[in-house]
């Protein structure tokens, strides 16, 4: 599994925030959108960082909705060896997959790309709301053209947003907990890959499909 830099993490989160936020109408701060909650952020980040779990969920979606695109996407993820090349490990913490995002988030905050707010208690935010600035939205649009190496994050953030749909952070966690390997991972340890399992499942599905 890969070990990424703070800048990489910041870029990845930026794409998740921008593609996963709810657009806002006119507002005094001229924010482009709002991304609600750290739980949702970690859940969506988990699918970006673990392509094998994402492929597994795509196959779930394919089997429930019979949408060919999900099967194709799952097949591409596995064929392009993403579980080996793109996986970035996370540990299982009390509320599921977790990583400390303070450093990449501080970059986004200092550069005026994200603004944090939310319900506060004793001067501290307890339910986060991440506001995506227009600067951030414009930057994301330009990155895809100027830095094609980072386009993968844009595409993946869009796909994860599609898979997550309108579900909140808690609902997404519950979906991810349905996988036994994820659920059985001991607290504080790295969540293991399910590449072999999902590959076998894909092969069976394809065999039945053809």
């Amino acid at each position: 599994m890969a070990q990424t830099s703070t800048a990489q993490d910041a870029i990845r989160l930026l794409f998740i925030f921008v593609r996963g936020c709810e657009p806002l109408g006119e507002n005094p701060f001229d924010y482009a959108g709002c991304f609600e909650g750290k739980t949702k952020l970690h859940a969506m980040d988990f699918w970006v960082r673990y392509p094998d779990y994402l492929a597994y969920q795509l196959l779930n979606k394919y089997e429930t909705e019979n949408e060919e695109g999900y099967l194709t996407k799952a097949r591409e993820i596995l064929r392009s060896e993403e579980p080996d090349i793109r996986s970035i490990p996370m540990i299982r913490y009390r509320y599921g997959a977790y990583d400390n995002i303070n450093e990449p988030l501080s970059i986004l905050l200092s550069k005026g790309l994200i603004v944090t707010d939310g319900e506060k208690s004793n001067g501290k935010i307890i339910n986060y709301e991440f506001y995506v600035t227009k600067r951030a939205k414009e930057l994301v649009e330009s990155i895809a053209i100027e830095f094609p190496i980072l386009k993968w994050f844009d595409d993946r953030a869009k796909l994860v947003t599609e898979i997550a749909g309108k579900l909140g952070g808690q609902a997404l966690k519950e979906i991810q907990y349905q996988h036994m390997t994820y659920a059985k991972t001991s607290l504080g340890t790295l969540i293991p890959s399910i590449k072999t399992e999902v590959t076998s499942r894909l092969i069976k599905i394809i065999a039945n499909h053809d």
């Binding site: 890969a2 990424t4 800048a7 910041a10 970059i107 600067r135 990155i143």
Partner: protein, 672 residues
Amino acid sequence: MTKEIITTPPLSWQEGVAKRAKCSKKEVQDFVKKYKVPLTPSIGNPKRIHITGIVFSGKKEGLHTNDFEFRFENLSPGIWGLFSDKNSKGKSTVLEVIKWLFKGKVSQGGLQDGVKSWIKYAGLSFKVDQMDYRIEVQQVGEDFNGEIKRAPEGQDLRAYKTFSSEVEMAATISDFMLDQLELDQFTSYKKGEHELDSGSEVTHGWPALAAAMFIGTSYEAIFGDVAMSGLPNRILNMYMGLPWIPTQAALKALSGQLKGETTVENLHIDRAKDDRRKRLAEIQAQLEEKTSFQEKLSAPQKSKLEYNKKIEEYNRAYEQTNVANKRLMDAKSEFGLIEASYKEDKIALQNFREDHAANRIFKQLNPTCCPHCEQKITQAQLEKEKTEHTCAICDRAMLDGEDAEEVLNELTAKAEATNQAYHENKQLIGTRTNALKNFEANMRELWQIATSYKEELDAEQQQSTVYNAIKEDIARLRILEKEYAEDLPEPIITPAPVATTAVAKVGIDETVLLNASIKETESRFKGLQEDLLQGVNEKMMEYCAKVGLAQYTDLKLNASPTLAIKKDGGDTSFSRVSKGEKLRLKVLATIALISVAEERKLGRHPGFLIIDSPAAQEVNQEDLNNLIAGLEELRTSLPSLQIILASVANDTLLEHVDEEHRIYAKGENYLW
């Protein structure tokens, strides 16, 4: 004029034989050594034995279950009697126990197994000249042991020889007696049981010789129990104390055996030749029949050899498949390492490029606020950052990676290299996988071919069982035909003893040597033998009148030994007279032998006789009485003679055998 007397030393036996056979002394010595012929020139010196006591005890089983003990002791030379008023009162058993201990083994048809098992202890005391001896046995269940004790007259007996089984007992007593009486074991030739049995050489030991001391109820031979194979003749000669008797016995036995073997061999050859001719005709007829039958059958097309070739081909393919599989495994194993490097390098390059891009993006953006306190960054702070290259937020120096390009190139080259290796190895795996598949397919095909062939072969073999059986029969018959077509050697015309290589080389005719040996041996005792026999005949005639055979006018015992008799004006012989006469003649012949030997101071008979009287209906009681009366009279001239007689009691017997010399079971009583 005095005539010079030239004396020549007597020839030795070997020299005598060599002269007769016209050969060298060395050749005679080789012959003697080859056939182990004993050379026994010594004359027998008489040794007298008499029984001094018989004791046995134990417990009866069956109808009577009482303990018993029989004692008949303090015997000396003279006539002794075991009498009962009725038959089956144990007389014969006492005699059989004496025979058992004296001979060392139970006589055939003698002591019954059941009765023998009742006896826990038995002891036979006897005197040999001035020495006392006792043979003792103890038997408890399976345990059997015994000993021979001895001591000079009047002293306590001490163990001399021991034995712990009946086989050992027989050997121990035989050796002891043969040694005491200076008797040698001797051989005789026993004819075969049918015409194709060449017979065999029989070695007679102590039990055969001891038979001359026991006169039972069988009168087949004048000396001993059995009139077989020259045995009575040898017993007579041995007890007369003639020299060279074991030598003569061995040579006669050898002659009989060689003749028997030659005759049988000729018979075998004649019959075999005849049988072979018949068999050859049969074989040829069968061959013709089977060959014509085989021609009508079709030969099998499939062969085991061909099947084996197919299996060998399959085995080669199997080996090739194994090698291909191993090559694939090796490639896959290597691929694992290459793949890991390939992915590692790909990730490293990807991370570097992403990180580089992300940094460039973020550096293009001026900070707007402090992420911690969220205070806005001023224009002055931004200017300072541009001019002094210090961070507008933390005020630390900002460094650009100057070697980024170089690192990128390095990572790219490395990733490309491992990428190439990865794909090449992947291709190699593909190639080897295909090769393995081909080998597997070939192997499966060859297996299919071999198994199909085997099925066809099996099916054909089942169908062609008859063909193969005929084929095997023909092959077998051809071998037999070849064998039977060879002729056997012609029958041997004259007896030709088997010659060893050494003797054969110088062309010595062993038959001539053998005949010369017999003649030379017999020449060395014939004169003495004839002289002694004359003496025995005279003694017998002298005794005849004393035992109620006054009607006998002449008796002639020859060396065979046969006994020619003249009585009542006619000629008869031992085998043709009544049992009562036979009994008396047997006793007289033995006593005459002992008497002559006593007078001449030679001979080997121990000088005692044990007589078991026959049932009353077979021998006239009067004959027995006459015998006893006569013996009583004879005893005075033969003071060392001892006779023990078992009989149903009558007045004559009781008169001649007084109370001190007898045990008498009156009425219904038993002797033990």
